[in-house]
Amino acid sequence: MKKRKLLMFVLMAGLIIALTVSSAFAEEFSVLGRPLKIFGFATQEAAFGLENKYDSENGLHSALMNLFVEGEYQITKDLKFYGSGMLTVDWAYQLNANRDSWNDRLFPKSRDNLNVDDKYWQLLKEARLTWSPGDFMFRAGKQIVSWGELLAFRIMDQINPLDQRRGFSDIEFETTIIPIWLLRADYNPKIKLSWLQDLGFEFVYNPNADFIPNQDLKSGNADGGIWAPNVPISGAHLATTYADIRTPERWKEGNEFGLRVKANMLGAMTTLNFFYGRDNSPVALFAPPYMSPVPPNIFASDGKVLLHPFQEGKYPLLKFVGATIAKEITPLSAVSFLGGVAPVVYLEALYAFDSTFAFSNPLSGGVIQRFGKSDDFRTGMELAWKFKIPALNPRAYFSFTGEFFYRRIMNYPSFEEISGLKTNNYQTFLSVSTSYFHNKLNPSLTWIHDINSNSDYYIPKLVYDLDYHWHFTLGAQFFNGTKKGQLFQMFDDKNEIFFKVAYKWG
């Protein structure tokens, strides 16, 4: 097995190196008389932790490298193949190998999980064939199908799993969405109605050729690395979870179906969405012995006990209907001193039936749990706007994206609790950015606020685009929260500053 992984690693690295050093590495060239486009990028990031706690590393705590290659080959007028692959390595495991604090806090034990992404589905991102005869489009293969309208909060966008093992704000989009094996069929009939510009039907089928779930943050430094959440337990640290999660059997179980109707009408973009499938995150219950130390690492380096949770769980059914709408608010475009740009409002709402949750008995300290069901309503609104502040930037606009997210557990248990959720749950997102010097210097600030836990997450960032090849980013991530053990508070030891350099080809 190890040989196979090594072989894949070498092949991937070899392919990337061969392509990047080739003089023929242009954005488009001809193969068998048909156009082949190849692009890629390499990024190297260095992130420095600012806290010196058991669940963090003061100093270099992450050195992520991404090598990404993508290509599109137009086989015939209506048939094309798109493929992409990526190699991700966190060199912090090599660079910190001799650092006492790193080793004492058991970070090296998370190496298998976070040092090199060497699973086939991590190396092979997308591989899909698209056939688009006339009013139809068929796409088969490992791919991303993106539903919804909001950029920050994923409401309708439930088909592809996410990779969040390395925190919430990853460096490139390609590193966070996990393509999976899907069949997609689109039909766009010719419309004769003058008020209806476009109409489309999109059908998605997941045969569960390979079950790839969300890659969530893991507990315990030995598994989750520097991103292991700091769950407050008196006299102890939460360590690696031993979980027995039942996954749907390939092909036989976990088939998913999605149908979306899209219409561009009356100046608005609307969709209706239906989905029947599996949740990409498991629901797990504590199982005997619930929480326990496990030799040989009974104690952490700061003397506290390392408590390991034991869990059993499953990937429950997810069934929902939903709708989205996107429309300009045209009256605001008349406000010329703000730049005359009409904001666009994006709305989406989802109603999930009989969703499964872990209901916990609060008298047991949350250890006694059962599977419970409730309908689940999620909705959100985004306002995307650009406006002028001449005093701060006389030549370019400020881009503003604000989002509000609301989730209601329709049948919240009267006595029991659902970890991390209340009956009503609220979050907000705000991002502001602009550009200077002919779009070369791009500062931005992103802020996510969880209203229920009163916790915050900030990302200030400065990107310098030297040219279309070289890009440099200086940024930071800050977390804070007032309620112990709730959402972003659990990461307030993870504050960091980071620097990233990216080189892009093509």
Binding site: N208, T330, R395, N439, D467, Y468
Partner: protein, 482 residues
Amino acid sequence: MKKAKVFVMCLIVFSIPLVMKIQVLRGAEKEYKFTVEEFLKAKADFDDPRPVLKDMSFKKMMPPEVYGKLIYDVEEMKKLWAECIGFKSPDEVGKIAPEIKPGKYSYMDKGKYPGLKELMIPAHYEMFNPGKSPHAGNFPEIEVVPTRQYYWSTPIAKATKENMGRTKLDSEGYINNDTYVAGYPFPRPSGGFKGQQIMYNWEKRYFSGENFYMVQRLLGFTKGLGVDFDGGIYWLQIRLHGRAMFEPYGWYDKRAQDQKEATGVAVAYFAPRDSFGNAFNIVYYLDRDRFDNWLLYINSLRRVRKMTATDCQDAVGGQDVIYEDRDGFSQKLSPKRYPYKFEVIAEREYLVPAPTWDGSLYMTSPSKGLELRNIQFERRPVYVVQLTQQDPNYVYSKRIIYFDKETFNLLYIENYDQKKRLYRNLLMIPCFNPEMGLLLFFDYIMRDFLDLHSGRGRGYTLPAPWVTRDHIDMSGIVKMGK
């Protein structure tokens, strides 16, 4: 096993409409086009003087039956167009600095021929120098060619002639689109609203034809003349109103008529890497108070997103233009939204860059100064229109536009910021196909005088009746996108 059978069944079910569809597609019009790689093989970005319009002539690139429908008798076109506008350009020029005769001139001849300064647009006179920082696109040598009569194709000229006098302006000088049918609406601009009439001739332009397919390279240059942007697009466009060249004539279809749609475009980026797979479509409306419909397929999101067409004053990524600078000037003229005062500040001959007929115009590489070479100049009768912005919140306070008086094509534009400083300019050098009577997009130079940056767009445009609504709608951009 059972699920595998379901999977196979799904595939079969998918196939049924396909088989049906293929039957329909057999009758579809053939899409003739070319890739950017083929274009670059025919003419590289730098140091390549090959006459691409001969090597990749329209006759070679288009099926004979399509090409045959697009060419007309040249003398008939000349005659018809002169009847429309009332003159031929060779008769209108030669009065200013008559000592400047056809021939080759170097920037070193400026002292010897002071008439060049009088005859050239001041910015062009400045560009008539060796390539040097901070801007690309200087020309150290020019060839002055005799003034030629330019003309639009027979159907455009016929539509212009037939509808002469029909298009009306309202009391403020804004067009009443219900009165416009086809052709150039004001072939003989005159009267108190002459400036608006010239602008509406540009708005209704047949530049590049009605349906076309274009490959365009986009290059950006730093003040040190290094390349800092290298991208490109495939561009498909359909004129949805006032059609004269291709069937259907007039309105493209009932929807276009009901919605008063002007033009539809679909654009897909093939480079740079971050833009690869982005695609957008825009339907432009005639109604000046109605915002255009803009959908963007975002490559990183794999999602179509509705955008606002009012976001039109920020620089387009990597380039020295805003969205309303498409083709030099594409802003909707409105008495409410960023209105202008219109003035024709000059009507005279200038010695301006001539459209290339053979495509031998080229740019030297950055190490050689990014100079334009094989550039021809021609005395042309020119309208100079000044648009003074009445709203101080617009990005530009003033635009000065030089239009060819014979073709109504935009030659050159200067845009000034609200502090009255020259902010950006754009020099358009199209190509001319004499058999078709068409001016088409070929090359342009854009400059930013505040951020000291410049850019170049170069491309090859093919008239393409095969471009339909299917190409420019939502499904079209999903297919074009990543």
